[in-house]
């Protein structure tokens, strides 16, 4: 018995090591100087240039126009992550409410129209989506960055599942007490959905923050670059330089992962709940 437990722990520890070590090493390496990394490879010790490198990455004017800094990119990432999460929660909660709690003629048609969006990820309709954005003049705007990403039904389905699990008696009782659709939604459904909203908000924030392909196409103006989009920029500067700024690249990678990682770790329980209960 003891021996099997030992091997269980051993396997788990190897798993944890494989998952965690690359990121820890990336962080430690980012505190060393570029020339030192270039000579000695990745570092597993504290380099002491933490403040120097990170303040440089956050505040230095970079890119081609010199208008984008790490802070600016971080702000853009926040706008994208928060805007997407808020938009998704509001849109999908309203839509799910209409679908589950109302009887109306086009209900089934609308349901299938929303459902179909699950079938085609953005990646397969990327070029025509880009053309549409050009026609609408939405490239290099926050609207163009956020709103098209909302055109998928994941959130609506999370809420639909959840609303369906709420007992019918609640609505019956509310109607006997004379509550109309607005009152029922705001006084009963919204408070009941708090945990679900939190869970979906976290998942959607991470999803929005981590977008890469769409921001890459939508934003050619560096003022709208997000951190994750910035990865592409690092690589383009990188090609052809003698001693690449490894430390700054690692620092940017750490900054780009920090907010979503922190949120997932801090709100782990809600995050897992939302993921495993809604996705089925």
């Amino acid at each position: 018995m003891h021996r099997t437990k030992f091997f269980d722990h051993l396997i788990l520890m190897i798993g944890v090591f494989v998952m965690v070590a690359p990121v820890v090493m990336a962080f430690l390496t980012s505190t060393h100087e570029a020339a030192e990394i270039h000579m000695n490879g990745l570092q597993a010790t504290w380099g002491g240039h933490f403040v120097e490198t990170y303040s440089k990455v956050l505040t230095k004017q970079g890119g081609f126009t010199g208008e984008v800094t790490g802070l600016r990119m971080m702000m853009n990432s926040l706008v994208l992550g928060l805007g997407f999460a808020v938009g998704k929660v509001i849109l999908s909660m309203l839509a799910a409410y209409a679908i589950v709690y109302f009887r109306f003629r086009l209900g089934t048609l609308f349901f299938w129209m929303i459902f179909t969006t699950l079938l085609l990820p953005l990646e397969v309709r990327i070029l025509p989506s880009y053309e549409v954005m050009n026609i609408l003049g939405l490239t290099n705007t926050y609207t163009g960055l956020i709103v098209p990403l909302l055109a998928s039904a994941t959130g609506t389905f999370y809420f639909r599942q959840f609303f369906k699990s709420i007992p019918d008696e609640l609505l019956e009782a509310a109607r006997i007490d004379g509550a109309g659709p607005f009152k029922f939604f705001i006084d009963i459904l919204v408070p009941l959905s708090k945990t679900m909203v939190a869970a979906i908000f976290i998942i959607m924030f991470v999803y929005g923050w981590n977008q890469y392909l769409w921001p890459m196409l939508m934003t050619t103006d560096e003022r709208y670059f997000t951190l994750v989009r910035g990865v592409k920029q690092i690589l383009q500067v990188w090609i052809g330089s003698q001693v690449p700024d490894y430390n700054e690249a690692f620092a940017l990678a750490i900054l780009a992962m920090l907010p979503p990682v922190l949120i997932v770790m801090l709100f782990q329980r809600w995050f897992i709940k939302g993921l495993t209960e809604g996705d089925k």
């Binding site: 788990l12 990336a26 390496t29 000695n40 309709r125 989506s129 029922f184 977008q211 992962m257």
Partner: protein
């Protein structure tokens, strides 16, 4: 559906309006455009387009690279799904079995989920770097020379490693919650009937996990097909010439780098059909499996 519902002539449309407007403008309009332009040949100088029927499809499918890229996409999808599912399941079973440190293992194993694929690839790129990469040095120690970005197979290897690493947490979360959903009574009954832990897992636990595993299989396939775009884009660094790419990456390359609107759209439509088939398959299968719940 609910037994009791509101009936109002206007309200449901009002509530659905924002979602429907966005879906129509940003989903249906582009999708219809993709299908439409897949039948047209766009003039490279922007002077209109002419209807060419199925020519774009024929050109795409007969193209010298397409079969090779499709094959790589298949191999990539199978390997990434297989390894990340396998490792995720192994870790979930072990984490489910231990009591001490359970919560710590869980936290440590899931947080990588929050890292964006291109960011993971950037870190991966440096671990596989020619000058500073420890993995390249380790391989050299065993007499294997890794040349990421130059050698097709080496680059593919690095891509698969990064894509698997990034996907393990997701599978771990779902397998663990699937395992924890198995009633204690079932586990105890199995324990009485069967001494061997491995056989117990194989004959009792795994069949009960089958719905989770199947759901994850589809998710992992879509992940490998679409969400790995960032990994590939970072790893090939815009030099796709001798490097492995997937079908989705080719859609992007032909459309944005090659300005081949018709060809890119035709590829989009082919991918749409693949995803469509996958989803239909998923729903049919899940319906049959529903008795487990």
């Amino acid at each position: 559906m609910k037994r009791v519902q509101f009936s109002s002539p206007l309200l449901p449309y009002l509530f659905l309006a924002p979602q429907m407007v966005i879906i129509i403008v940003f989903f249906y309009w582009p999708s219809v455009q993709a299908i439409q332009s897949s039948f047209y040949l766009e003039d490279p100088f922007g002077f209109g387009a002419s209807f060419v029927g199925l020519d774009n499809y024929r050109d795409v499918l007969a193209g010298s690279q397409y079969a090779g890229i499709a094959l790589f996409t298949l191999v990539f999808t199978v390997l990434v799904s297989g390894f990340s599912l396998g490792i995720g399941l192994l870790l979930a079973v072990k984490a489910d079995g231990v009591i001490r440190g359970n919560a710590t293992y869980k936290t440590m194993l899931i947080w990588v989920y929050a890292i964006a694929p291109p960011v993971a690839a950037l870190i991966g790129l440096m671990f596989f770097d020619q000058h500073i990469g420890p993995i390249v040095k380790l391989a050299a120690f065993f007499g294997v020379e890794l040349k990421i970005g130059l050698n097709f197979n080496d680059t593919a290897f690095a891509m698969i490693v990064v894509a698997v690493w990034k996907q393990i947490p997701y599978n771990f979360i779902f397998f663990l919650s699937g395992l924890q959903g198995i009633p204690v009574s079932v586990r105890e009954a199995a324990l009485v009937d069967c001494k061997s832990g491995f056989r117990r897992f194989w004959t009792v636990i795994l069949p009960l996990l089958a719905p989770t595993a199947f759901f994850l299989l589809i998710i992992n396939m879509t992940y490998s097909l679409f969400d790995t775009f960032g990994v590939i884009d970072v790893m090939v660094k815009d030099k796709a010439a001798n490097n492995p790419i997937t079908l989705v990456y080719k859609v992007y390359m032909d459309g944005f780098r090659g300005n081949d609107l018709g060809g890119s759209s035709a590829q989009s439509v082919i991918l749409m059909i693949v995803v469509f088939a996958l989803t239909i398959f998923q729903f049919r299968f899940i319906e049959r499996r529903v008795h487990y719940n």
